[in-house]
């Protein structure tokens, strides 16, 4: 069941069930701290978290703006064509690089990955792209990870994740060659 039509469901929601669950658990924890340790401790924790949150806001806003501009300036068809025409290690590197650059959530990323296949990319490149977007994509790191973990931790984690998309792409190629999953492309000129 493959479709190239983007589902109508909106990705942009200010609130969802995951957030509601975390909000409920957080409220319970906050109430427990207030009751157990007193107002002073409660305010100290709230203050330090608000500071962390506030410090990260300019970076989150920058991340959102970069994402919006890249979406407008970098046509996805062009990216797909580019990735589709490359092969070998270069193909993996380019696919991984686009995983870092392309902004957006799953609703925009998986159709692009599907388009790579149509344009002639091999399974390894598609795997490298998805793993790269998941682990080192800057929108996710800037917008989500930074406010939670702080710059130093996130930078360090990303540097150590750099080889993983290429590794995943190579593993995928080995698996395809071993007959684990048949590649639809038989030959590559």
């Amino acid at each position: 069941m493959s479709s190239d039509v983007t589902p109508k469901r909106r990705r942009r929601r200010a609130f969802d069930w995951s957030t509601a669950a975390i909000a409920a658990v957080s409220l319970a924890a906050a109430a427990m701290i207030y009751w157990r340790d007193g107002a002073e401790q409660f305010l100290a924790i709230l203050g330090s978290d608000l500071t962390l949150f506030g410090e990260m806001l300019p970076k989150v806003l920058a991340g959102c703006l970069i994402g919006a501009f890249v979406t407008l300036l970098l046509p996805r068809e062009m990216v797909a064509r580019w990735v589709g025409h490359e092969s070998g290690l270069t193909g993996l590197l380019i696919a991984a690089a686009f995983g870092v650059i392309l902004p957006g959530g799953p609703i925009t990323i998986y159709p692009v990955a599907g388009a790579f296949l149509v344009m002639g990319a091999d399974a390894g490149a598609v795997v490298a792209f998805i793993v790269s977007w998941t682990l080192i994509g800057y929108t996710r790191a800037l917008v989500w990870e930074l406010p939670f973990f702080g710059s130093e931790f996130v930078l360090w984690r990303i540097v150590e994740a750099l080889p993983l998309p290429i590794l995943a792409g190579l593993l995928a190629r080995i698996a395809v060659r071993a007959g684990f999953a048949h590649d639809h492309k038989q030959d590559k000129s």
Binding site: A68, A113, V131, T134, F149, E160
Partner: protein, 164 residues
């Protein structure tokens, strides 16, 4: 450090805005508007998660977290964290809140990295909801299969390289 990152990011924003402006005023305006709207839509979720994770970290049993997931827990801790990441349901707020709370209450950095890597790569609901409808099934399963060792590799690299 944090100032340098801010300067760099806003430099990128300025360059992109300049390129957009050179292609027309409409492109510049719609880019700026989309980005700002996205920011305000995300704020409540990130705010609740960041502030909530501080409170959750405070009530978590520190000895237990330290023993199971602390820097001394080694590979056992990485395995526990990886399983935890694979089993965590829900969207980004849940995964990042739990990871941040664990880190604040004494979990080791490699263990938290294993958790968030596993959560990001394995999440079954995302696989079924997003990947399966949009890509050929064999690619989805191939992607999932080759992702299996990645949280362990990420954690081991974190252990070897160490935090600067």
């Amino acid at each position: 450090m944090t100032l340098a990152i801010n300067v760099l990011l806003w430099l990128v924003v300025a360059i992109l805005a300049f390129v957009a402006a050179s292609r027309g005023r409409i492109l510049l305006n719609s880019g700026a508007r989309d980005g700002v709207i996205e920011f305000f839509m995300l704020l409540p979720r990130i705010g609740i998660g960041v502030i909530g994770s501080g409170f959750i970290a405070e009530v978590l049993p520190k000895e237990l977290i330290g023993a199971w997931l602390g820097p001394e827990s080694g590979l056992t801790g990485v395995v526990i964290a990886t399983l935890g990441g694979a089993l965590t349901p829900g969207g980004p707020v849940v995964g990042f809140s739990i990871g941040a709370a664990a880190l604040k209450s004494g979990a080791g950095a490699p263990q938290v990295i294993a958790y968030s890597t596993a959560w990001a790569l394995y999440a079954i609901h995302r696989l079924v909801m997003w990947e399966v409808p949009m890509m050929p099934a064999r690619i989805v399963w191939l992607r999932a299969a080759v992702s299996l060792p990645l949280p362990f590799i990420a954690a081991v690299m974190a252990m070897l390289v160490g935090k600067p």
